[in-house]
């Protein structure tokens, strides 16, 4: 159907303007980007449009992580704008990270004009080819008439079903072609491969029965609960209360149930608590909701929770029976399934239900008494665990947002920082991207300008994207960068100690900058904490500073992250401390990551 529009109508514009208008229509308020030759028309359109705030990052990878931080802390779709060639290739790590952690993003990349595609033109890269395996979907727009529809569809794909990143490659000539703006279709176009399936009532009732009759149940929640919105998280707490069942959460799921909930056993998995892993191993009914049996969680698969009936709720059908065979798979949104389950359980539950699991709680409390997260802060040297614990205690009433990098500090943050709400914990789980936290904190702080945002970092990870200090200063973002400085790539060093005979090959961070001088050079505050006695008042100073802070926390250098499931071991083979490590890692285990 042809639409006739009068010349000079406000629906007539060039492709770049149409793209920006379409972003506004899809609710974009902030875009993270870096300009370049192939996106100049888009930047021109942004210049004229006052509705979208552009945050200029210092590296395209950081643009994507910032958008991830924005998306994960708000539940909205994050938006990225980068140029062709190196702009696009730099964004790839971020896109892969977003795909692994199911973060909804739309990434616009510039491309050389259509007539130059395939000629190895300046700053040309096969962006759709390179990004195909690391996006949920991508487009190369070769026909300007489809531009508006593609942008609208991209937002629908990014945010529906299992969320993920969508990339739109925009050749420069398409950005300059005149188009007629098309609004989002009022009737919602069925996303072509629909994740939504009808949830089978019968399965819900079988599962509800299993849970009610279970003597040793465990609920294991993941990032899918957080992605399903705050309501899903409160429904999960409701389910936990209803069954009085123990609950454990994955790294991605932290915050879905408050850490102060009496039924919360802590995080599970490789660096999870003893009680969480033992409960997983010994349970008779396991309800996995919105998690994907990741290898960090399961340990050795042939010894994974051997005697349980397993129920798996996931919005992505391919997650079910991917690595662990389950007895009941339910494909659906966590919120919907939880509300159906709760209704059904209320119907069939009676007074005897909760007393069935008294013995189970006795056993669990015995495991809890092992105090697997115990540590001794005895000398003057700061234990990293103590640093996180003190930070948590100081800030827990301030509703802080926490981002992290990847490594030991990340695990300590997951273990010792408590989260009471979803969307307050941004960490790179699936891909394990060092350098994620600082740019991510940029996105979080932009979305929540008046909130306390802390990037818990390690010295090595910090160096990976520290150029973003410049962004932080430019936009006056009061991010607190809390660096647990042990001068090692701590997790690498730990594995070398445990698995490779303390041969510390290339894991020492030589030539670290003086972080206080570095802060000074950016005009921001640097605070160094050398000893435990200084920690308390230094934390006050960090938190109460108006602007950004780099905190250089000098910690015990060779502290290891425990408890731990050694590689190739099972949930019931945890080591609780270094003295426990008398078992030799199996040959198979050595080959694992």
């Amino acid at each position: 159907m042809k639409v006739f529009v009068q010349m000079g109508s406000d629906l007539q514009m060039n492709g770049a303007e149409a793209v920006i208008k379409a972003l506004v229509e899809n609710g974009v308020e902030v875009i993270f980007g870096y300009p370049g030759g192939a996106v100049l028309p888009l930047y021109d359109a942004l210049f004229k449009n006052k509705k979208i705030k552009h945050i200029l990052v210092r590296h395209e990878q950081a643009a994507v992580h910032a958008a991830e931080g924005y998306a994960r802390s708000t539940g909205k779709v994050g938006c990225v704008l980068v140029t062709s060639g190196p702009g696009a290739t730099n964004a790839i790590t971020g896109l892969t990270d977003a795909l692994m952690d199911s973060v909804p993003l739309v990434c616009l990349t510039g491309q050389v004009p259509t007539h130059l595609i395939g000629t190895d033109a300046f700053q040309e890269a096969d962006t759709t080819g390179i990004s195909r395996p690391c996006t949920k979907h991508n487009y190369l727009v070769k026909n300007a008439d489809l531009l508006c529809d593609i942008v609208h569809e991209a937002f629908a794909i990014a945010s529906s079903g299992r969320p993920g990143p969508v990339l739109i490659d925009l050749p420069k000539d398409i950005q300059l072609t005149d188009v007629i703006y098309k609004k989002k279709s009022t009737k919602i176009n069925k996303i072509r491969n629909n994740y939504e399936t009808i949830i089978d009532k019968n399965t819900i009732s079988i599962v509800a029965n299993l849970l009610v009759k279970a003597k040793k149940p465990i609920i294991y929640g993941g990032g899918g609960v957080v992605n399903a919105g705050p309501e899903a998280s409160s429904l999960l707490s409701e389910l936990v209360d209803l069954l009085n069942a123990p609950i454990t959460l994955t790294l991605m799921g932290l915050g879905a149930v408050s850490s102060e909930n009496k039924n919360f056993l802590g995080m599970l998995g490789m660096h999870g608590t003893y009680e969480a892993n033992m409960a997983m191993h010994n349970c008779d009914v396991m309800l996995n909701i919105g998690a994907r049996f990741d290898d960090r969680v399961t340990g050795r698969l042939n010894a994974f929770s051997p005697n349980s009936k397993k129920i798996h709720v996931d919005i992505d059908k391919s997650s079910i029976n991917k690595v662990v065979s389950v007895d009941y798979g339910i494909v659906g949104d966590a919120r919907k399934v939880l509300s159906l389950l709760i209704k059904e359980i209320i119907k069939i539950k009676d007074e005897t239900t909760n007393s069935l699991i008294n013995d189970w709680w006795t056993t669990i409390n015995e495991w809890r008494n092992k105090k697997s997260l115990h540590f001794n802060q005895t000398s003057k040297i700061i234990k990293p665990q103590q640093a996180i614990k003190s930070l948590y205690e100081k800030t827990k009433n301030m509703d802080p947002f926490i981002t992290t990098e990847v490594g030991q500090h990340q695990m300590w943050a997951a273990q010792y920082f408590g989260f009471s709400k979803p969307n307050h914990w941004m960490t790179s789980g699936g891909l394990g991207t060092m350098g994620y936290g600082l740019p991510s904190s940029v996105g979080v702080q932009v979305a929540h300008p008046n909130s306390l945002v802390i990037d818990i970092s390690g010295d090595a990870s910090f160096l990976m994207n520290m150029q973003e200090l410049s962004t932080i200063v430019q936009y006056k973002l009061p991010v607190k960068i809390f660096i647990l400085n042990n001068q090692w790539m701590g997790m690498v060093r730990q594995w070398q100690e445990l698995n490779h005979g303390t041969r510390y090959s290339e894991s020492y961070t030589e030539s670290l900058p003086d972080l206080i001088m570095l802060a000074k050079s950016f005009g921001i505050k640097g605070i160094r904490v050398n000893e435990i006695d200084e920690l308390d008042h230094s934390l006050d100073e960090i938190i109460n500073t108006d602007g950004p802070v780099i905190a250089d926390i000098r910690i015990e250098k060779e502290e290891n992250c425990f408890p731990m499931i050694p590689s190739g071991a099972a949930h019931n083979e945890m080591i609780l401390s270094a003295d426990d490590n008398n078992t030799n890692i199996s040959e198979v285990g050595l080959a694992l990551v």
């Binding site: 080819g129 949920k136 290898d295 698969l301 042939n302 391919s318």
Partner: protein
């Protein structure tokens, strides 16, 4: 897939024929193939051509191997690809027809030529090209039949082979029309 070994269930791998309906647009085939190479699955045969020129839909007929858990995983992963509309497991659904077309060039002299023609007749192969020293035969049928024919021809002389790969369809009166009608016209 994780390097952590899967449950120690020893299940035999079997061959499966899948039939996909996908958007005929650039990149769709790359997505399908990339999925197989990226996740370490096998493709034994793959054919693709547009079958609906109004909706620009193509059918991909694909033969793969794996345990039932792997095949389920392949099917679910294929459905995650946005331009993939329909994934059918013909092997699981019931009786279906598999067919393949092959062009076989044979260079042979003397009595071998007579033998070649006799075999071609038995297999109901068509002769598409003849010179004094060669033939080109066209043969359609199930892959096993074509394998057998090629094997015989190879013993008669120098050969050159071109095969289309398996194209497949279910037996009986069921069609996909109703499902395809839900796909909006572009």
């Amino acid at each position: 897939m994780s390097v952590y070994q899967k449950n120690d269930i020893k299940e035999k791998e079997s061959s499966r024929t899948l039939s996909l309906i996908v958007d005929n647009q650039p990149g769709t085939l790359a997505r399908v193939i990339g999925l197989f190479s990226g996740r370490g699955y096998n493709i034994e045969s793959l054919t693709v051509t547009e079958v609906d020129n109004r909706r620009h839909l193509s059918r991909i007929s694909l033969v793969t191997r794996g345990t039932s858990m792997t095949i389920e995983q392949i099917k679910s992963q294929l459905l995650r690809i946005v331009p993939v509309h329909l994934v059918r497991d013909l092997t699981l659904e019931g009786p279906f027809i598999e067919c393949e077309l092959a062009l076989i060039k044979l260079v042979a002299q003397g009595s071998d030529r007579v033998e070649a023609l006799r075999i071609a007749e038995t297999f109901r192969a068509k002769t598409l090209d003849v010179t004094l020293s060669s033939f080109v035969f066209e043969l359609t049928g199930r892959p096993h039949k074509i394998d057998a024919f090629i094997c015989l021809m190879q013993s008669l002389g120098d050969t050159e082979i071109s095969r289309t790969g398996v194209s497949a369809i279910s037996r009986g009166s069921d069609t996909e029309t109703k499902i395809l009608e839900q796909i909006t016209l572009n």
